[in-house]
Subunit: 368 residues, 4 copies
Amino acid sequence: MIVRKLLFFLFLFFVLQGVDAQSRKVINLPDISGYITLKCDFHIHTVFSDGTVWPTIRVQEAWEEGLDAIAITDHIEYRPHSKDIVADHNRSYEIAEPLSKQLDILLVRGAEITRAMPPGHLNALFINNANFLEREDVNDAIKEARDQGAFILWNHPGWKAQQPDTTLWWDEHSALLKSDMLHGIEVYNHSSYYPEALDWANEKKLTVFANSDVHAPMLTKEDEHRPMTLVFAKSRTLGGIKEALFKRRTAVYFGNTLMGQSSVLEPLFFGSLDFKKAALKLTNKENKVVNIKNNSDVDYELELVQPGVGFDAPETITLKAHHVTPLALSGNSEEINDAQNIDVYYRVKNMFTDSTENILVTFSFRNN
Amino acid sequence: MIVRKLLFFLFLFFVLQGVDAQSRKVINLPDISGYITLKCDFHIHTVFSDGTVWPTIRVQEAWEEGLDAIAITDHIEYRPHSKDIVADHNRSYEIAEPLSKQLDILLVRGAEITRAMPPGHLNALFINNANFLEREDVNDAIKEARDQGAFILWNHPGWKAQQPDTTLWWDEHSALLKSDMLHGIEVYNHSSYYPEALDWANEKKLTVFANSDVHAPMLTKEDEHRPMTLVFAKSRTLGGIKEALFKRRTAVYFGNTLMGQSSVLEPLFFGSLDFKKAALKLTNKENKVVNIKNNSDVDYELELVQPGVGFDAPETITLKAHHVTPLALSGNSEEINDAQNIDVYYRVKNMFTDSTENILVTFSFRNN
Amino acid sequence: MIVRKLLFFLFLFFVLQGVDAQSRKVINLPDISGYITLKCDFHIHTVFSDGTVWPTIRVQEAWEEGLDAIAITDHIEYRPHSKDIVADHNRSYEIAEPLSKQLDILLVRGAEITRAMPPGHLNALFINNANFLEREDVNDAIKEARDQGAFILWNHPGWKAQQPDTTLWWDEHSALLKSDMLHGIEVYNHSSYYPEALDWANEKKLTVFANSDVHAPMLTKEDEHRPMTLVFAKSRTLGGIKEALFKRRTAVYFGNTLMGQSSVLEPLFFGSLDFKKAALKLTNKENKVVNIKNNSDVDYELELVQPGVGFDAPETITLKAHHVTPLALSGNSEEINDAQNIDVYYRVKNMFTDSTENILVTFSFRNN
Amino acid sequence: MIVRKLLFFLFLFFVLQGVDAQSRKVINLPDISGYITLKCDFHIHTVFSDGTVWPTIRVQEAWEEGLDAIAITDHIEYRPHSKDIVADHNRSYEIAEPLSKQLDILLVRGAEITRAMPPGHLNALFINNANFLEREDVNDAIKEARDQGAFILWNHPGWKAQQPDTTLWWDEHSALLKSDMLHGIEVYNHSSYYPEALDWANEKKLTVFANSDVHAPMLTKEDEHRPMTLVFAKSRTLGGIKEALFKRRTAVYFGNTLMGQSSVLEPLFFGSLDFKKAALKLTNKENKVVNIKNNSDVDYELELVQPGVGFDAPETITLKAHHVTPLALSGNSEEINDAQNIDVYYRVKNMFTDSTENILVTFSFRNN
């Protein structure tokens, strides 16, 4: 048979082409006390709904970009390629799974319940069988997901195509929340940020997400990263992720911005930094410099919250990723000579706990 | 109907995501006397054979990268996704065609006849119906292509999977050539250069090609370009391309290298450059500088072929793309004072006419 | 003599090191009707005042970055290296001049009169002898500059070290203006923008400037440019620049922003673009695309000013530098079918005529 | 006094401009057993000889680029700026020293003895007083350096200006070596590599160096590094460096290449890598993947030295900097099933011990 003779050559060819991307990027963000920081994208499409790439490519992209986990979430109700692609709703997961195992990417089985607003589009994660989500009534579909044990999140809640004039929370979402059929919300989708979603998450105890919602090939530039959900998990397993999602231990990471609860943002911040903790011995009219090394990929942008007592500190300072930045303190009164401790208070302008608030951090040094 | 209600919203969403790439790069290479320089890629796969992207993506990629024409050339004999994708051999072309018209990308109907060596893999371009190329006997398939008026080229002739130890020209290729069933050859495929192919092309009057043979998403970096075949055509039409291919008016372009006949490389070189043609008036012990502006994307690397008569010129010089580079000449004997003309001879080290020869160029100036 | 024997070798060595930067970048901005667009930096320091590089480096940097003209403007009153560097105020110009002639960089003789506020720091350009500007009384120094025929500009008028709380125009500046001793003002200095200065320039008929005020080595990245003053001159000569400065034919160019009078910004904008002027023949419910090629280095960011009559146009569009961007128009009423012309009105968000206003541009097409 | 009033403002201004480079890059290379890996450049010029920047800039550049130590080595015999700059040979060191202390850059006092060949140019490091090196006879100058306890190295030994046709070792160098007046040699200078120097270093027990010999401003791109000498020191002190130089514990680092003795290159290589040491349990016809994380800035390029016994390993593999690269091993005979250990032998193509030899490394795994 012709075809059979070719298989070996073609396999080799594919392998040789695979040589294009032989290495996996490292995303540098610290683990935080007791938890592993997993880099995840829970909203991804393939040719099996309205995406334009084969499912294995999604695993390959995730591996190259340094992610730990992805969910393929093809639309249940919208499959424009169905004239040519004849398959059930579980197929994209099944095709991606072997490669995900080989490359050690955690693959979450998911699907996107795709309806008009309300309730809009919802991702069901950790389902067992996507086919059962194909129901006429949207509530039946969501119930089915819940009954499969799914974690359910509201996607792009302020999407202009569905909420053209304003971003609204509908009664239907309150009902879902009450019935344990809504657990999370996208604060960031693709290239859009929804500040209302961050505040709703705080108010209604929802888990925050940033997802790519990618349809086309991923074209992440070498020195950039896709929007992602950081998951603080007890273990690098599917179970570990699921537990963390239901416990709301996530953060939103897009561009140079992080969002979430201060209980995770603060350890992320300090876990990124190395600096000497020795006593400063700062006195009046003298300078001391603390060299701060930032091992993470994030440029932290600091703004002084209040003047120091007895010393000056820079009004603004950027702790550049993978660089050492000096923090220069200068004594400006005799008071500093006897100070036991020096506390310097900064606002981290690119770490948000809600739509208007940044986290505050304190650099504390012994002085004598 | 649920689905129908969604279509409008989803269409909008797709359009909004399409916003990702709103602009088309310009590839800067000059037209040459009487011909338009078209940037083409004649070897491309989709999910309809063993590629991993939907056909429209190939058109989108070509548009973004500044190409004029592509051929989608899915394998006839190798279709590993056929369990899920049920379609005939013309389908990838049909899906890509509407977008190609909208974006003004010339779309060549093609297919890859995919056999063991000899004769290996052959692309048939400008066919009418790919389905008729599915034949048990390879010669029947090639004849069918020829009878459809196809231009036929031998792909990756030194591919290690098929020619592991050496790169050979087989009797079967001589037979194809004799029967008007072989017209061109890939000198460059994906990331491999086949020097033998360049020499065969000269010897046997084959048309030279550089193609991407892309299977995965195109990940061309912003300041790079995919391997491509330059076609010097009388018009920017499918007919113009076909005529140029049969007349061998092409060049190979990969990385910073160009290959082909000097009849096209020399006008490409000088067409890239702007400099003043005024008389130099160089005299002994004086310097004159000619500022050469290179408007093309190619860094031309020059090496002096022989010393000038009565003057010194730089041993090596790089005419950097989109920069002005000074060519400094200095008189070194009284002879130069009376010279009517000054000719400076350089070898262009990144423009090849065969596997070992570069083109030679002469900068000629009046002196008095 | 040892030293003499070394000269030849060391000269060669210097030349070989000079090989580091053999090419001159091209800054792509169009000339405008009747004028050549010159790229200039009129505020530069060397080791002869408080800068840290030798004067020839300033010429070399300008040549590499594609500038046409620079002024070296060392401080008259502040020379912290004078213990080691013993020279008069004309010396930095004299050292730079031979190289500027060789590289065809127009070198303006200048100096910075450096006083407390008011009047702050003033650059005197096109002077004859900087030594005569060393005067106890600042007015004597400025008068001397004026009597030498100088063009005089106020530097960094909102510099926080001199105007910590607000940016003020002082009576002293009004007096200078009245006495023909103030002709221009820096709207942009180094990395600071002074919006008040742009409005003052309009109000008081001052010439606008953007200058680097560089002290350290220039570290412009390959895909960036230093802040510069565009001068629209009748000829590429010192006289041409001087005439243009006194006639206020300049624009401010920093980052991706241009500022100045609409009489120069509008022709800069349209001179950057290539697109077909053929009739559109747009009808209701149809789309037409105009492909706009931007040949300049500026990404023009457009925002629709008002809806079209009978057609839709994109709300926002970026005409990316050196790319082709499609402008898609779609008929939305029967009215369009009979329209003789189609006018599309955009605000160019990165071209400013004063601190709050952008220029408005109209794309006009025949329709039938 | 005018000048005094200005000082405060100008100081502030300088400080504000200094803001341009607030962060120090980190060069990622591991320490090796018992030693700290210091990044050093021992050949640097300023305006005090034929350089073109003020001495403080050299310290600033070193700090920004992540170096630990530099030597300013102005020419004794060649001072083309002496008409304007009037100072003795120690002055450039004295000017640079306060900033070096503030920024914690180790500053080595040095000078370049600059003569015709032989012996050419020699750097004297760790001298006490450069003025005493100004002697008519070159041997007197070198003796003076030695008597000050200097470490002496031969600069750019194959420099074409002094050795146009070939790279020779002269009798004069043998004499110097014998008299303890020559201890090291530049294998790499600025942008030139001298392979003979690497072999001489092995043969004659000289310490190897790579230095920038920079004259103009440093224009190192963000993702590149200057040529540097790695010093494996017992402490990050001047004394630590001096001890290491005399003990020949250095390596040459330029571009993506490292050179030196295998005793330092091998621990540099393995110290860069993280991978699991668990038993592989590879059996016939199975695959096992070892994920290797490269924490250094070097892309290590590996080439298989010999086939494995009972398994296949990749012919070539690149361990890309700051990426994870999989090493895939596949069993190819029954022999592998019982193997206690698996050793994979690679040549590191960008780590050289002499002009033709690379280091060989062995990845050793337990199998059962």
